[in-house]
Structure formats: structure tokens, C-alpha cells
Amino acid sequence: MSVYQKNEVKEVETSRTLSLVVDNQPGTLARVIGLFSGRGYNIESLTVTEIEKIRNLSRISLVTRGTSMTIEQIKSQLLRIVPVHIVRDLTLEGPFIKSELALVKLVVKGANRVEALRIAETFRARTLDVTLSSFVFELTGKPSKLDAFIDLMRSLGDTEISRTGVSAISRGEKTETKLLDQI
């Protein structure tokens, strides 16, 4: 530990979900990622997609981990980036929904095929592709649900996993429309 670090009682690190609205232009994502790598912050999950064509805006949903001082620092640093317009701390704001999509390929033969389908049904996964020796399932939901499903599939055979990362939104009627109009 550096001597420039505070020696106070170690504050616990918590996972935080941030929701950013940024200009959809080349370099914005590089700036956000560069901030995290350059200053040594963690990224646990990150998703980016355009959300508005006319104003050319994208949303970045980002899951990070740190003490509250670090998270406050991350948020203020993000707001220094010129094409970052809104930084919301969903974890701090109140109840919110976190959802992710996973595509799971399972290579499986014999009796385990029935088991795989049964588990998929329990998890409400959709079957997108079937061959005599494999399946591709699609599952959406909380990351922990996806983790559980993937663990089960792994025990049944060879798997290949593709996950989108977390997308998040707050519960209730509150929207960002007014904030976005100021951009």
C-alpha cells in the first residue's frame, strides 16, 4: 500500500451501477475506458448502444466497484469528459432493474439433452438453435440468474458463452427527458 493512501479504517468496496448518456461519436467510449484504465478503477461490466438517432446519443451502462470516495471520484471524473452529458448512480438513486442477455451454446448428447431442455424451461430460456448434438439457448435476466444457468449448462457438456453485459434502468416514473433537453 502506498504511503499516500489513507490509513483510516478500510471502507468496504461495493458494486455500483452507473448509467451514462454520452454523445454517440468516435472516441467517446475510448475516453470513458481510458479514464478507468488510466486512473486504475475497475470495470466489471460495460454496455454501449445508441439510444437516440436525432440527438445522436448513446447510453453506457457500467458496473464498477469501489469505496464511496472512489465512486464519487469516478462520477466527477466522468463528468469532466466533454461528450459525457449525464452520469447517474442507479445504486444510490433507489430501486432499479439490471438485466443482461446471454447466448449459451451447449454440445450435448444422450440423456443430458433432456436435462438441458428441462433446465432451460425452468429458467425460461429460449432455444434458438438445435442440432442432434447441440443447442443454443438465449436467456435474459439478472446476472446472477445467468450465472446459475451457465453453471448448470457447463456441468452438462462443452459450452460456449456470449453475454451482453448489464443494461440498467431505474424503477418508477422518473425519466431523464428534462435532463436530456438541456443538452
Binding site: 504511503v3 463528468l79 466533454v82
Partner: protein, 592 residues
């Protein structure tokens, strides 16, 4: 449909539009170096009478010169470099400007848009390389957005916490036909804008805190300089009203006149004993426009341990970054100081203010240690004496000082007195050797009638000495005051203190004869190695109309004291070599 003003229906080349946009944004001087990818811009400059172009000899120097210009005037500094090596050479300067919050616009040429990504001749990913070392950067891919981008760049560079903005201009964009768009008052709200509404409640709390404090201290930094001369006046007034001690960071020197009785000198690693001890023992600390840099705080877990801390900064991310404070106020120094001063004055009349007599008598005891004291023995010139004499001889002029980085920089900060802001240009955050000489070019261009001195070390001077050629070309009467000890002094000092005097590669061998070097450029060179001739040499240097290199041969192994050893706290300062019985901790050894 947007109705276009007739004035905006001006068609011209992209290059001409860029130059016009610079003029519209108040640019009078641009520092640059031509090359293939900026030939259209140079062609547009050729016809232009409103912008003076200063041809530097290296692109790094162009940025440092623009920094000197910006820092000494409060305006935005402007740089023009070519693609590839031109842009990569500018990177050190841009990083320097980012660290010290200096507003810079750097225009760089780029290969034409259809060649980007093909490893074309003199192509570099300038946007990618400069992204982490600018406040913002743009690659102009669409000629229609060119003017707006230039206007916006000026706004970004100069608003909030200032910083460098790079605009990468592909050659085809410079040659394209564009419609000039005038500057619109404010294109859109910048998200990093602080709110100009100051929380009155907070101001009231802070004012009360300051008035009730028994051992208050104000610690000011470069943010005050950036906020403009008014901020310095307000700070000085606040200090006087509160009658409390004030200390300044390296970047803040001059914000409170050195002659103010409440000024304790610079704080931090090479700050005065009284400033650091007052910081350590204060009960209320007001930080105005400084950022708790590691050079200032020393070991964080022992930094001003029993104090309530207030931090005023225009950049929200500076608050609670390394030191958690009790009250953070986000805002421009002059606006916050003005509100705070008003509140303090109001409350001052109503309440009885706690006596600070005990605090001042304690400070007096620390002052009596005379931490900047030194003995000039024998004929060899002590570097401290050289700076002291330089100050005495120049204090009645409008003197601007630039420095390089190292021992001479610290001695200049310690022994030269600064009575006004914007008169002290030094590389604080990045610590760039070779900053001072090009920076002095920018300062002298901005203040042709003033006395501009680059206090330098011989090693730093060698880093950008090609700029002598620039100085001669533009007849800039800059005085280069080299404290020549034939060592990279600060490296040598750290090797002595931390590495058992094993002086690995820190000797500056094969030095040129500085007098002959000056003569080879057709300027005056002076040399002095005897204390009896020091003052006469300084007089001669000042009296010479043109540029001068003064080779001041100083005591070779002098160390810069007082010092907070790395990893130590404010109250663990060492005052001189004999005091160094402290073993640097392993953690301390790892620090720079």
C-alpha cells in the same frame, strides 16, 4: 429552417476559415512549426496581418511558449504543428498544460481523410495519442463542422478548469470550401460547467468556521491565478480581514504579495518550516484553488491531522480526491472568495473573533528557525545567494520569471519574491525540464517591454536550448540565468539522501562553453564564479539590451533545504544536511 445571417455566407478555404476563427477568438500570436500537412494553414497565415506567427525550433517548445504566453496574460495560448512527428513532439507540452491547467489550443495537421488509417507518410493517431493528455480533442472529418469546432475548442480550453484542446485538421479539410460560421454566444451548455449559484448556507458555515478558528491557515494555489487578478486581490483582502497566516503552492506564488506580513512562504516538500508546521498544526484549513498535490501534503495519513478542511475548487473532481474535506465548494475562486469575503466582513462586525495571538506567537517561533537561512562562505557563489541577489536587483522592474525543473526551480520559488500573480511561470505538475526557455519566449512576446528571466539549471537548459535561435530571430531580450553546478542537482541530491551518494548518471558531462555558445548565436554571454562579481554581473545582464546567457558557476554540491523527505509528514521536515538522521522508509523510497 435556419435563417442565415448575410455575414455568415462567407465562403473560403478550410484553412482560411480556421485562421479567421482564431482571429475571432482573439488570437494575436500563434507558436508553430510548418510541415507538409499544415501547408494550407501556413498559406492562409502568409496573407494574414492579424496573427503574428512565432517560428519555434521544436514543437514541444511551441506548446511551452504558448503556456508562458497564456500563464502571463490570462489568454488562451495557440499552437500550430504538423502531422505525425509535429504532433507527437507536442505531446509533452500538452501534458504539461493539462497538469497545470493552462488554456491551450493546439492545431495539428493530419493526412487527408481518405488516407487516415493507411500508415501514410507522417501519419500518427494524434487523436488517440493526445486523448489522455488534453482536456478534449477533435478530429475534423466534416468541413461543415470546422468553424463550430474551433469556436467550441476555445470555450472548452478557457472555461471551468482550463486545459489544452487539440484540433486535428486533415489536409483535405484545410483545402475544402467552407462557409464561415460566426461564433455563437454559447453553442450549448458544457457539462463540466460549475453552477455559478453559490450556496449561501455553505458560505455562512465556512465564514463562521474561519472566524471561530483559533489556528486557521489559508493555502492557495494555481486556481487563483487562473481565476484572474481579482481573485488574488480578494484572497489578500480575506487574509488581511481574518489576520490569519497564508501559504501558497508552487503554482500559486504571487497571489498574495511576498511582502504581506501574513505570508509564510511556499509550503510543501521544499516549503518553509513555518508554512508546513502551520499546516500541520492548524485547526481550520481553507484551500483555495489548490489540489492537495503529493508535493504539498507529504504523507497523507499525517496531513494536518486535527483540522477542519474547506476546499474551494472549480473542478468538482479535485474535491475529496486524495484528502477528504469537511466542506467542498465547487466554483470559480473569485466568485466564491467574493461571497466568502462579504460574509466574513458581515459576521466580523457582529461577533467577537477568537484571538489568534497564541497562534501567531507559535508561528513566530517556527519562523525564528530561519529555515531558508544559509551561509555564504568563501568566494564560491551559493545558488541561494545568486537568486537572492537577482531578486534584489530586479524587484523594482516588472519582472517575469520562468524556470526549468530541479533545484534551481525550488531555489527560485524560495528566494525570489513574487508580488503579483501571472509573473511566475513554472512546470509544477508534470515537472518538465526544458520548460523555462521556450516559456520565456511566450512571456516576452506577450510583454515586450518587461524584464523576462529564465532561471535555469545547466542540465534543463540543454533540453530545449535550440530555442536560442528563436530568441535571436525575434530579438527577444530574454535573460537566461543558469545556475551551473555541473550536476542534475535534484537527482544528485536524492541520490545523496536516498541512495548512499551513488551518483549514477547525474553528472552533466561535456557542457558547452555557455559564453561561446551565446556568442555563436550573436548574443551576449557572461560568466561569474566569484561572489564579489555576482552583483556586477547581474547588473550587466540587466543592462544589456538584447538576450543574455549568464553562466552563474555556483557551489556544486549544495542541497535544496528545507525538505520533507519522501514518505514523511510536514512535521518531519529536515532543515539541513546535518538534520538528515532520518532513514527513508521503503514506502518512501518508492515515491518520486
Amino acid at each position: 429552417m435556419r435563417v442565415l445571417n448575410k455575414m455568415t455566407l462567407n465562403y473560403m478555404s478550410g484553412a482560411e476559415a480556421v485562421i479567421k476563427a482564431l482571429v475571432d477568438n482573439g488570437v494575436e500570436v500563434i507558436f508553430g512549426y510548418p510541415g507538409g500537412a499544415v501547408l494550407p494553414l501556413y498559406d492562409a497565415l502568409f496573407e494574414n496581418k492579424k496573427i503574428k506567427h512565432i517560428l519555434v525550433r521544436h514543437e514541444q517548445a511551441a506548446v511551452h511558449a504558448a503556456e508562458g504566453y497564456a500563464r502571463s496574460t490570462g489568454k488562451v495560448g495557440c499552437v500550430l504543428v504538423t502531422s505525425g512527428p509535429g504532433a507527437t513532439n507536442a505531446i509533452t507540452g500538452l501534458t504539461d498544460a493539462l497538469m497545470d491547467s493552462i488554456p491551450i489550443i493546439c492545431l495539428s495537421g493530419q493526412v487527408p481523410t481518405h488516407l487516415i488509417g493507411t500508415d501514410a507518410f507522417q501519419e500518427a493517431d494524434t487523436i488517440g495519442i493526445s486523448r489522455p493528455c488534453t482536456k478534449h480533442n477533435y478530429l475534423v472529418k466534416d468541413a461543415d463542422k470546422l468553424c463550430e469546432i474551433i469556436h467550441k475548442s476555445f470555450e472548452i480550453a478557457s472555461s471551468g478548469r482550463p486545459g489544452p484542446v487539440l484540433v486535428d485538421l486533415p489536409k483535405d479539410i484545410q483545402l475544402s470550401n467552407v462557409k464561415y460560421v460566426n461564433k455563437i454566444s454559447k453553442i450549448k451548455k458544457l457539462n463540466n460547467d460549475y453552477s455559478s449559484n453559490i450556496d449561501e448556507n455553505l458560505i455562512n458555515k465556512v465564514a463562521n468556521l474561519l472566524l471561530q478558528a483559533e489556528r486557521p491557515i489559508i493555502y492557495g494555489g494555481g486556481g487563483i491565478v487562473n481565476s484572474g487578478p481579482n481573485a488574488s486581490k480578494l484572497l489578500t483582502e480575506l487574509v488581511n480581514v481574518l489576520d490569519c497566516p497564508v501559504t501558497l503552492t508552487l503554482m500559486g506564488l504571487g497571489c498574495v504579495p511576498n511582502t504581506n506580513k501574513n505570508f509564510l512562504g511556499m509550503l510543501g516538500m521544499h516549503g518553509t518550516y513555518e508554512a508546513n508546521l502551520a499546516m500541520h498544526n492548524c485547526d481550520v484549513m481553507l484551500n483555495v484553488g489548490a489540489r492537495f498535490d503529493d508535493r504539498v501534503t507529504g504523507r497523507l495519513n499525517a496531513f494536518a491531522p486535527n483540522s477542519k478542511k474547506v476546499h474551494i475548487d472549480v473542478d468538482k473532481s479535485s474535491i475529496n480526491k486524495v484528502v477528504s474535506v469537511d466542506y467542498g465548494i465547487v466554483g470559480d475562486c473569485k466568485e466564491v472568495l467574493s461571497a466568502l469575503l462579504q460574509e466574513v466582513k458581515k459576521l466580523h462586525n457582529q461577533k467577537t473573533v477568537k484571538s489568534k495571538a497564541k497562534w501567531w506567537s507559535q508561528i513566530k517561533k517556527w519562523k525564528d528557525k530561519d529555515s531558508l537561512g544559509f551561509k555564504q562562505i568563501g568566494n564560491n557563489i551559493k545558488p541561494q545567494q545568486a537568486i537572492k541577489s537577482l531578486y534584489e536587483k530586479t524587484k523594482n522592474f516588472d519582472t517575469y520569471i520562468t524556470t526549468e525543473v530541479g533545484q534551481h526551480q525550488m531555489w527560485a520559488a524560495q528566494y525570489f519574491g513574487f508580488s503579483k500573480p501571472n509573473h511566475w511561470m513554472t512546470s509544477g505538475g508534470l515537472g518538465t525540464m526544458g520548460y523555462g526557455l521556450p516559456s520565456s519566449v511566450g512571456v516576452q512576446i506577450a510583454h515586450p517591454k518587461s524584464l523576462v528571466i529564465d532561471i535555469s539549471g545547466e542540465a534543463s537548459f540543454l533540453m530545449n536550448m535550440q530555442e536560442l535561435s528563436t530568441i535571436v530571430q525575434y530579438k527577444l531580450p530574454i535573460k537566461i540565468f543558469i545556475l551551473n553546478n555541473e550536476w542534475m542537482g535534484m537527482v544528485r541530491q536524492w541520490q545523496e539522501l536516498n541512495h548512499g551518494s551513488r551518483y549514477s548518471e547525474s553528472y552533466t558531462a561535456s557542457l558547452p562553453d555557455f559564453v561561446k555558445l551565446a556568442e555563436s548565436f550573436g548574443i551576449n554571454g557572461l560568466r561569474v564564479d566569484n561572489i564579489t562579481n555576482l552583483e556586477a554581473t547581474i547588473d550587466e545582464m540587466i543592462n544589456i539590451k538584447g538576450p543574455v546567457i549568464a553562466d552563474i558557476r555556483v557551489v556544486k554540491e549544495e542541497n535544496c533545504f528545507p525538505m520533507i523527505p519522501s514518505g514523511a509528514a510536514h512535521n518531519e521536515m529536515i532543515l539541513n544536511s546535518d538534520d538528515n538522521n532520518h532513514d527513508t522508509s521503503n514506502e518512501g523510497l518508492a515515491l518520486v
